[in-house]
Amino acid sequence: MLKIEDLHVNYGAIHAVKGVSLSIPRGGIVTLIGANGAGKSSAIRAIAGLIRGARGRILYTPPDGAEVNLAGMAPEEIVKLGVTMSPEGRRILPHLTVEENLRLGAFIRTDKEGIERDMDHVYSLFPRLRERSWQKGGTLSGGEQQMLALARAIMSRPHLVMLDEPSLGLAPLLVKEVFDIIGEINSQGKTVLLVEQNAFAALKIATYAYILEVGSIVLEGRGEDLLKDSRVKEAYLGG
């Protein structure tokens, strides 16, 4: 579904992503893990079109169409092709209500009835959000904001959902809930690209994983295999 070839991202003199290539099969959950500053966020932001001047090929094949190169496209065009990103830090719009945040997620759609159905769907997936639909996004707790961010991401009816650090700053119980929901989103037919620092949780859910260190992929493999890998254990899973 998505094939990245030789992706480079520079910030001035800093070479944050140095020739990353990876591939995301349709229906899978692929995770990109690594320490802070490894270049995970830069890579995912480049795919979403947020980094001007990223180099490389980002080849995306929608389920119902021909391959397109996302490199150089604007974020608003990319989301229209079915690739949605939920940014790090959730970035809920604090002054808009929960309902408005969700409707913003559906901004590219024009099928009114479909939107209403999906609103209902995400509200049943996240009953807390229904209770708070008229509350301002900024008044939600961190966990609720993350749920809202996930719900908002699927409101555009994406084929590929990219999540940047969805478990960041959440209590362990909520982390589990977030990963359960990611699994649920995946089981409803959406392909997931997950960027995480929480390597253990990410590897457990992932069908395939890439490990990034200072801008390059150093290891890749099936999630369950990497969980058992001694190098991974030592570096990311606390021995």
Binding site: A48, L50, A74, P75, E76, V79, K80, T84, M85, P87, R91, L93, P94, H95, L96, E100, R103, L104, G105, F107, I108, R152, S156
Partner: protein, 297 residues
């Protein structure tokens, strides 16, 4: 002062306040999205007045149609100002766009002198608008009722757009977080153009009604109303639409009532707004309804 006189002054104040408020909305909307003071906004107000003048005199359009055409063309002018003077500077430091704004303002003023000449002109006023009506001793112009009414309708329409439509939702979202809004598929430049278009249409409507109320138009007529409406927007809390309307009304009241109660101050009329600006900046820099200032990420 008799009660009748007071009511007359009150009508005048509300009329003036409405006109300030309509201009102030444009300042506040553009600021809310771009953090830019669009100093050329007063010029769009002036252009609105000129466009209706020429629509009536040159194109011989009926009055109502001329007003609509003038608003529409002014709106396009506002969008063009953004395209030409601000859009290329979107990623530049904010001060660059501000300097560009001042430049555009001077440019339009001076270009207007060249094109329209500096001679003041009088806009045609339909008789029924300016025939004084005597209601139980209160003498008012129908205009003093119509201006606030039209303003009310325009503001209600604006609030509907901002709070009940998709582009309005996008506007409100952009004002807080441009990047996330783009990730939702919103084309930011289109929303910015829409914002300039709406703000400029309201300024032009104000300019047209101003020309009916104070029937003399000239290329610098936008300078003081523009500055004062800017002050009204700051007073009300820049970025807030409600604040702009309240600020405009308040400024209208202060100007008219201060002169009404203290006629000797009439020479200082234009200074009141600036005194108000200094006071609000000292007491509550974010304005009456402004949000806490925060640096944009």
């Amino acid at each position: 002062m008799s009660i009748n006189m007071f009511i007359q002054h009150l009508f005048n104040a509300i009329t003036l306040g409405s006109l300030y408020g309509l201009i102030a909305i444009g300042y506040t909307m553009v600021y809310g999205i771009l953090r830019l003071i669009n100093f050329a906004h007063g010029e769009v107000f002036m252009l609105g007045a000129y466009f209706i003048f020429f629509a009536i005199t040159l194109l011989k359009l009926p009055w109502g149609l001329a007003a609509v055409a003038a608003v529409a063309v002014s709106s396009l002018c506002g969008i063009a100002v953004d395209r030409i003077a601000y859009k290329p500077l979107r990623d530049a430091p904010r001060i660059s766009a501000l300097i560009s704004a001042i430049g555009v303002s001077f440019f339009i003023q001076n270009l207007s002198i060249v094109v329209f000449t500096g001679l003041p002109r009088a806009v045609h006023r339909p008789d029924w608008l300016v025939k004084v009506v005597n209601m139980g001793g209160i003498r008012i112009l129908p205009l003093a009722v119509i201006v606030p009414l039209v303003t009310l309708l325009l503001v209600l329409g604006l609030l509907w757009v901002v709070y009940r439509t998709k582009p309005g939702l996008a506007m409100r979202a952009i004002s807080k977080d441009i990047e996330t809004t783009r990730l939702m598929g919103v084309s930011v430049n289109r929303i910015i153009a829409l914002t300039f278009g709406i703000g400029s249409a309201l300024a032009a409507a104000s300019g047209i009604m101003w020309a009916l109320r104070y029937p003399q138009i000239h290329p610098f007529m936008g300078l003081f109303p523009g500055l004062k409406a800017f002050i009204a927007a700051v007073f009300g809390g820049i970025g807030s639409i409600h604040g702009a309307v309240v600020g405009g009304m308040f400024l209208g009241l202060v100007e008219i009532m201060a002169v009404a109660f203290f006629p000797t101050l009439s020479g200082y009329r234009d200074a009141f707004a600036f005194v108000l600006l200094i006071i609000i900046l000292l007491m509550k820099p974010t304005g009456l309804m402004g949000e806490k200032l925060e640096d944009k990420i």
